[in-house]
Amino acid sequence: MPQSRPLRSLKVGDKAIIAQVNAEGELGRRIRDMGLVPGAEVEIVGRAPLKDPVALRLRGFTLSLRNNEADNILVATPEE
């Protein structure tokens, strides 16, 4: 089982599998509605000029979320 780490720590170009989403309430709902659920594969495609928000690719579309929102998401990266 690969190590889980926060989504924020990924660099542009990194790919990972979502392991856990720890957000409740509206934020949790919005994150899940967009398909960020455990098992989904994501790739970091970019960061805004001020490093925040971050742009992700998942399920064939691009999604952006703020770093503090990404902190609620833990991902598993394939062992380097």
């Binding site: 899940r32 509605d33 659920v37 970019g46 064939g60």
Partner: protein, 787 residues
């Protein structure tokens, strides 16, 4: 394409024409079809392709989400298509989702057409599954099939339909491909099901399924909320903590509701301790799991994944690059502003000239008096002032539609979010600010309306309330005039400073609001960055026209009423009878003298004029020396007399203004505004500025007895102001006040409409004025001590 145009012509023939189609109409059944789908799935493109431009745009009750209704006629049915707001889900969190849900439940449309982006089917099906769970008859419209094909995806619509148990139609809404098939499928389903709901059950796994079964059984035996929702769906919503359903439940049956809540809490606690997760998360997992299993059942096959987005990604590498991105963005924003105000100026002048011409015609056709004044100074000036903005507003909406439809607007929000978030705003707040005059010269009315692109309610409200602080095009001439009087050597710097002050105050007040009246957690940013697309002309035209038309409707109704009120306030009660009589008398006297002098130029002789002059003069109350001097200085006397007449008229106008309601208000406010350095004349002008800021100059002109001052040639007013002893500190205070005080009336109306509550209109009028007053007093008091 053919079917789209056929639908347009069909939709444009209303059924009320006698003889032509009424007999056939009786046989046609009418169905209500709701159009739903994710944002960016091409829902509005499809709506336009279905119904053409002839749609009815309104708002859903109570909120500002647009409701569009259009009609489609096929050979065997009439479909009333209702455009639901674009949503990703059907929860109770956002106004859009609640509206969509309530419409389905309360209006019970015979079918829902769910538009899906075939390229990201997985996420798009998340909403479709929720419709199926609700049980409403669904037709899937797999849109953007061309793009999906280009990215190497083969989507088997038929297989998808079989697996989900609902018709699925392939679409390319941009070109109209498949639209006819979609209408046919929707009609067939509506006929077949006659609006009956058939909820689909999805398994939510060993932890939730048993409790869902137990809860639905209890709900069913008590017929709890069963007139509106299926039992299992209600149970699911209790597990999801859905606030709306829980409230309805408490009203319907408090005992059962409490029991359901207790069961839900029990399961939640169990999930937390055993799996450290929540029911909501489990439900989402299983829904996505269900979708994945459907898609794996031969629906989607792909050869080279991700190809479609490659182009978009390459563009993003430049357009959101950490150095190039912001530079290009500034360029784009500047261009939007430049195009709007250089290109827009021309038709804007046309409309303004048109209203000026109308005013002239009315002036010529009617005798001087109240009716003429009402028509010319009240209605034509007021409505014309607002209608003059129509070309500008149209152009801005066109450019915004382009930025939105192309996908660039989302990138602007993405790049600027970090900055705006500090002040409790959102990346999308930048557009309303810029249009309102963030680059000096905008207009707050379209600016406030541009805030529609913001999907987060609190950030949106804070943006709407602060955008009017910007240096709009109507404040600009007033500020330029004052800068030229008080800072003749550094006008540009002062104006730039005012623009910066506008930004600083907007951001500061936004921050204040977000930490007080509009307090609350930042709305999650979680936002889709749609792939870049070239907008279609048709889509741009329809978007632009819809928004412009709404603006014009506002101008036609509300603003007409207020123009009249403001005019009345500046006209009545007017000077008292004695004074009016003495003005009239003085005018008559001089007019008589002018006539007397001018008469000899006509066929008569000099002797005639001498006979006549005293005869007329004796009727005027004051004669004697004035008559004598006029006769003595006969050569230049004519010009001097005309000047005198004009002078009296100006004095009369000034007296009339000061005696009017607005004037009395100005005078009564003087004890208060003295601290900011404003006298009663300035106060009147500021009151007039509420109708439209550019009115400040002309009202100041009237108040200082200068007659009508043209805003393009205000030099005499400038001289007068400095001669009247307004100090530099006073001038600066006045500029600050004008920049920040109550938005003009059209903006106030826009605020009311956009926030859905007149409370915020009143708030912006009072708060901004008090705030501006406070700052102006500070500037004046400090300035007076400093200079």
């Amino acid at each position: 394409m053919t079917n789209a145009s056929q639908n347009v012509s069909a939709a444009s023939a209303p059924g009320k024409e006698p003889g032509k189609g009424s007999g056939k109409d009786a046989a046609l059944s009418t169905y209500t079809i709701a159009l739903a789908g994710n944002p960016n799935a091409g829902k509005s493109t499809l709506f336009n392709a279905l119904t053409g431009a002839r749609t009815h745009v309104g708002n859903y009750p109570g909120i500002t989400v647009e409701k569009k209704v259009g009609q489609v006629r096929t050979s065997d049915a009439v479909l009333n298509v209702v455009d639901l707001p674009g949503t990703y889900s059907l929860t109770a969190y956002s106004a859009e989702e609640l509206v969509a849900r309530d419409f389905l439940v309360e209006e019970r449309p015979q079918a829902v057409v769910d538009v899906l982006n075939a390229g990201s089917l997985e996420r798009n099906l998340y909403l479709a599954v929720q419709f199926l769970e609700l049980g409403i008859p669904v037709v899937l419209g797999l849109n953007m099939m061309d793009e999906a094909r280009k990215m190497g995806m083969v989507v088997d619509a038929k297989r998808l339909g079989e697996l989900l148990g609902c018709p699925a139609v392939e679409l390319v809404a941009r070109t109209g491909t498949g639209v006819r098939e979609l209408t046919a499928a929707a009609t067939r389903l509506a006929k077949e099901r006659q609006g009956r709901w058939k909820p689909v059950e999805i398994s939510y796994g060993p932890d939730l399924d048993p409790v869902l079964a137990e809860m639905s059984a209890a709900i069913m035996t008590k017929s709890f909320l069963s007139s509106r929702y299926p039992a299992r769906w209600v149970a699911l919503k209790y597990l999801e903590n859905d606030s709306q359903i829980r409230e309805l439940g408490v009203q319907a049956d408090p005992v059962l509701s409490a029991w359901l809540e207790e069961r839900a809490a029990h399961v939640a606690a169990h999930l937390r301790t055993t799996l450290s997760t929540y029911p909501e998360a489990v439900i989402a997992d299983y829904r996505y799991g269900f979708i994945a299993s459907v898609l794996k059942g031969g629906v989607v096959t792909r050869d080279n994944l991700g190809d479609r987005l490659a182009f978009s990604d390459r563009l993003d590498q430049v357009l959101t690059h950490k150095l190039l991105g912001p530079v290009l963005m500034l360029g784009v924003l500047y261009l939007v502003y430049q195009i709007t105000f250089t290109v827009g100026k021309v038709p804007m002048e046309w409309t303004q000239n048109l209203f000026a011409l109308m005013a002239k015609l009315v002036e010529g056709a009617l005798p001087e008096g109240l009716l003429r004044s009402l028509l010319v100074d009240g209605i034509i000036a007021g409505v014309g002032g607002v209608m003059g903005f129509v070309p500008l507003v149209m152009l801005i909406f066109l450019l915004i539609a382009f930025l939105e439809d192309s996908g660039y607007m989302a990138r602007i929000a993405y790049m600027l979010d970090r900055v705006f978030r500090i002040f409790g705003l959102h990346g999308c707040s930048v557009m309303p600010f810029i249009i309102s005059g963030g680059i000096a010269g905008g207009c707050a009315v379209p600016g406030v309306m541009a805030s529609r692109t913001l999907r987060s309610p609190k950030e949106r409200l804070a943006t709407i309330l602060t955008a009017p602080f910007m240096t709009c095009g109507a404040k600009l001439p007033v500020l330029i005039l004052l800068a030229s009087v008080f800072f003749p050597d550094s006008q540009a710097q002062v104006l730039f400073g005012m623009t910066l002050l506008g930004w600083a105050m907007a951001l500061a007040v936004a921050w204040m609001l977000r930490s007080s009246m509009v307090r609350g957690e930042a709305t999650p940013f979680v936002m889709e960055l749609p792939p870049y697309r070239l907008p279609t002309w048709r889509g741009l035209a329809i978007h632009t026209w819809e928004r412009t038309w709404q603006y014009m409707k506002k101008a036609g109704s509300m603003i007409l009423a207020v123009s009249i009120v403001v005019w009345a306030a500046m006209t009545f009660p007017g000077v008292d009878e004695d004074k009016a009589a003495s003005f009239e008398a003085a005018k008559a006297e001089i007019a008589a003298k002018i006539e007397a002098i001018e008469a000899p130029a006509a066929p008569g002789t000099a002797a005639d004029s001498k006979d006549e002059a005293p005869a007329l003069g004796s009727e005027a109350p004051a004669q004697g020396e004035e008559a004598a001097t006029a006769q003595a200085a006969e050569p230049e006397g004519l010009d001097a007399l005309k000047e005198k007449l004009a002078d009296i008229e100006k004095r009369e106008a000034a007296e009339g203004l000061s005696a009017s309601l607005a004037g009395r208000l100005g005078a009564s406010l003087e004890p208060l505004t003295r601290y900011a350095g404003f006298d009663w004349r300035t106060n009147i002008a500021l009151v007039g500025g509420f109708a439209a800021k550019e009115v400040i100059i002309s009202t100041l002109g009237t108040a200082y007895s200068l007659g009508k001052v043209d805003k393009d040639d205000a030099a005499p007013l400038a001289e007068m102001l400095s001669a009247e002893g307004l100090t530099v500190a006073g001038g600066l205070a006045l500029m600050v006040f004008i920049l920040l005080y109550s938005p003009c009336f059209p903006t106030v109306v826009a605020i009311g409409k956009e926030t859905g509550s007149w409370k915020w209109s009143v708030f912006s009028m009072t708060f901004n004025t008090v705030f501006a007053y406070g700052l102006a007093v500070a500037v004046f008091q400090f300035g007076t001590r400093l200079f």
